[in-house]
Subunit: 492 residues, 2 copies
């Protein structure tokens, strides 16, 4: 099985696709740019979603649901937002099909069922939501509104890659409304922290928190905060964004509130989102040439038990041992599977669960069991140990914690080794080409320089890190003065 | 607050809308026929979804996600299914907007971005899913496939009503593939049982399990099973359907499998779904002229605690009592809220939580507390009792169970009283008009008679109940022989 996976060195991009498809996470569909998320991939997304949803609720948010369609006149109300997404919009123009008179058994769009106003399939929901908030907000008593939506969105992309860039994807989008700018900024920062905590503690993906340069902001935002991760090929991946929207949407949709002082003021907004793209980042952070490596806290399956026996007698003898172990694992809250499917041989199963990135494998062998031991194999390091079956559930629970920590430490060491401080243009270019990663360099703060650097190197400013120290220097490209370093990288 | 709700007697339909909107469940949106599901309504849906999802997983199903869009050529492959939904399809024809040269700041559909093949926004996903299953199924080893999807779907409806009939709605759709017809039928029946159990045990909505007449089948199904509920106005509501699809989709998409005997056979299919429509049925089953009445097991909020005190001192003195009670309720797994918001008076809060259907209200009064007692009010019967604060959490837990049972018993008694056996056409018509409900009558089994009855009375065959005894009789309309009664009703 694993022989069919392209290695990273051979073709990184093909390696990624092999893992996604052969690992059972997702596949292409008959619809251009849209993917099918298969049960194993969806199980992973469910675990991620459940953790995030709990974190959102713990920070006071509630879920709601807004329409899939945005009438064109609402969509265009906030001009920068509209301009930013106009080129990627799927548009519904008709509401009926009819029999095609020229082709029996075939259908055609009914020209008589043309919509008076076209409907945009939401690429993001600020417009439809702020048009709704207008009805929800009258006075300061109605604020803040802390709402999140789990939904599908559509952005028509010309070049797509499974999870990383698809025409339709699943995401959550938080949309909050506040009485003051300070409160909205605090919310924006809070949700960035939630995302960073989720990425590091659950996905075992280290991230850098920062703010985007004006050129890289979300269309319609005053400030875009982000978390940036580093993939194994040295390219960066934006893993989540949190936007301070100022009063832009409140002004576009005339959303005002009565203050305690009886004045009418525009409302302040935030929005923040992460998507199924996170799964792409997860895969590219941890996986190896044998397959996926999934962090225990969100792995759909944490433990697989593979028995090795001869014939039906062997199977029958092993069953009670496996049942007892499965019951103990379940009682310990561990997601485990006993795979006694006779259609496949143990060797095939070993490769299959390695490909699927199951963190821990237990091998039950008849001889081992006679000695009261089993073999434990961990996916991340491929270490195998023989341990007593006595107390196994607790040992596995501990091992899962250890694996989670080891995966994060490994990814963090990899990332930390690839943040390069450079002082000259020659070093900047060489670093990007020879030791790809984050390049920390001075920039003169202008959009022109940023664009010129992107044009020359394909590297973009990933973020201005939040914990950036003040440091005087000169821009690597123009030599103009600069007061802080920013992080550049080529990115997904 | 409650004075603004129309009574059922005055205008049943307006009463329903008042409850949905003023109760905070949903509202109309700027998009024709699409609703906004507000946080309280979405919280209810989350609870329903979580229970159903657990039941699906316990019966061996996994979730997955398939594209929102269905290319027209796939959509039309299963002809009956396509014909059934063609008139309700929202169609994406373009993938880009551009600046409108004649209107500065406005956008228009870019005529150069016309899709080669139109995309139907899924009204149901059999086509896109069976086109995918083709790749998943080679041999009997790949069967059964037991997959469910939680998703939004769009059916362009001309007359819409919040939750009951909207252009976009949320639902789940199970799509399973089997080696034999027997297995597929068993799956269809199993999921019908899951739906019935969910409706009765969680929603406290009694349902009748049955099978649809051929005319009322899902487009593309060989048999449609359903659960039917009765609303307070005597109209029926189809609350869930489970379809045996035969080999129709397997044939349309050429999905065959290799049997153990090395033969190629078409695969057998089922699909089954419930939607946010269930919320409409829930509201119309239990609510009264004061507002919503929600069953405890799925109510977003099970208990509200309203304090009555004077001034800040009173509030401070009450806080520790409330905190202790809230902690005890939380420990007992009860969803509770302590509402000490000073912006509203207790009387306003009483009416508000009554409107929202919170099953139990606890009133904390200073004088009562001095005596070690509190007032408990139950929403369903409006009974109030004074009880010791000692042991309150357990008393409330018991009361929630009691309310759940009482609500089901009340709804069942109401429903059972409205199943009328009639023997003549005159009785049939009079019953529908004077005592609306389910009418159990003999039918000659022909589509012509069924259509004639619908034309004359607007009543449809809701189902042929599964537990129907064999009974010889004559059709109420034609006098032709019949071997069983079927259930007629006017319906939502
Ligand atoms: Zn300085
Ligand atoms: Zn007979």
């Amino acid at each position: 099985m694993s022989k069919e996976i392209t290695s990273r060195e051979q073709d990184y991009s093909q390696w990624y696709n092999d893992l996604i498809i052969r690992g059972g996470l997702a596949d292409y569909s008959a619809v251009r740019g849209c993917m099918v998320i298969k049960p194993y991939g969806y199980g992973l997304w469910e675990n991620m979603r459940d953790v995030l949803d709990r974190m959102f609720k713990e920070t006071g948010h509630q879920n709601a649901y807004f329409p899939l369609f945005v009438p064109k006149s609402l969509f265009e109300a906030e001009e920068k937002n509209a301009e930013g997404f106009a080129k990627e919009c799927a548009v519904v123009t008709h509401y009926r099909l009819k029999n095609d008179p020229s082709k029996p058994g075939k259908l055609m769009v009914d020209p008589e069922a043309k919509l008076e106003e076209e409907l945009v399939v939401r690429p993001t929901s600020e417009a439809i939501i702020w048009n709704t908030y207008k009805d929800w907000i009258q006075s300061y008593r109605d604020l803040p509104i802390l709402v999140n939506q789990w939904a599908n969105v559509v952005r028509w992309e010309m070049r797509t890659r499974l999870f990383l860039r698809t025409a339709e994807f699943l995401w959550q989008e938080g949309h909050t409304a506040h009485a003051t700018a300070e409160e909205a900024v605090a919310e924006t920062r809070q949700m960035l922290d939630v995302y960073a905590q989720f990425a590091e503690e659950y996905m075992a993906v280290p991230v850098i928190k920062g703010v985007k340069s004006p050129a890289e902001r979300f269309a319609g935002a005053e400030d875009t905060y982000c978390i940036e991760a580093l993939m194994q090929d040295g390219k960066a991946l934006q893993a989540g964004t949190s936007h301070f929207l100022g009063q832009n949407f409140a002004k576009a949709f005339e959303v005002k509130y009565l203050t305690k002082e009886n004045k009418q003021e525009y409302v302040w907004a935030t929005s923040w989102g992460v998507s199924t793209r996170l799964i792409g980042g997860l895969v590219m952070t941890h996986s190896d040439d044998q397959g996926l490596v999934l962090p225990p806290r969100i792995a759909p399956l944490q433990v697989v038990i593979v028995p090795i026996y001869k014939g039906d007698d062997g199977k029958t003898e092993m069953a009670p041992v496996a049942d007892k172990l499965m019951a103990e694992l379940k009682a310990a809250g561990i997601r485990a599977k006993y795979d006694d499917n006779d259609n496949q041989r143990p060797g095939w199963k070993f490769a299959e669960y390695e490909l699927k990135g199951v963190p821990v494998r237990v091998t039950l062998g008849a001889r081992d069991l006679a000695n009261g031991v089993v073999e434990l194999a961990r996916r991340d390091t491929k270490e195998k140990t023989t341990v007593p079956i006595e107390g196994l559930a607790q040992r596995i629970a501990d091992l899962l914690v250890e694996i989670q920590g080891a995966m994060f430490a490994k990814a963090k060491a990899f990332r930390d080794e690839r943040i390069f401080k450079v002082e000259s243009w020659a070093d900047f270019e060489r670093t990007l080409d020879e030791t790809p990663g984050f390049v920390s360099a001075h920039w003169d703060g202008t959009a022109e320089t940023e664009a010129a650097i992107k044009e020359k190197t394909k590297a973009t400013i990933r973020c201005i890190p939040l914990d950036n120290p003040h440091e005087d220097g000169v821009c690597i490209l123009t030599g103009k003065p600069s007061t802080q370093r920013v992080l550049f990288a080529r990115a997904y």
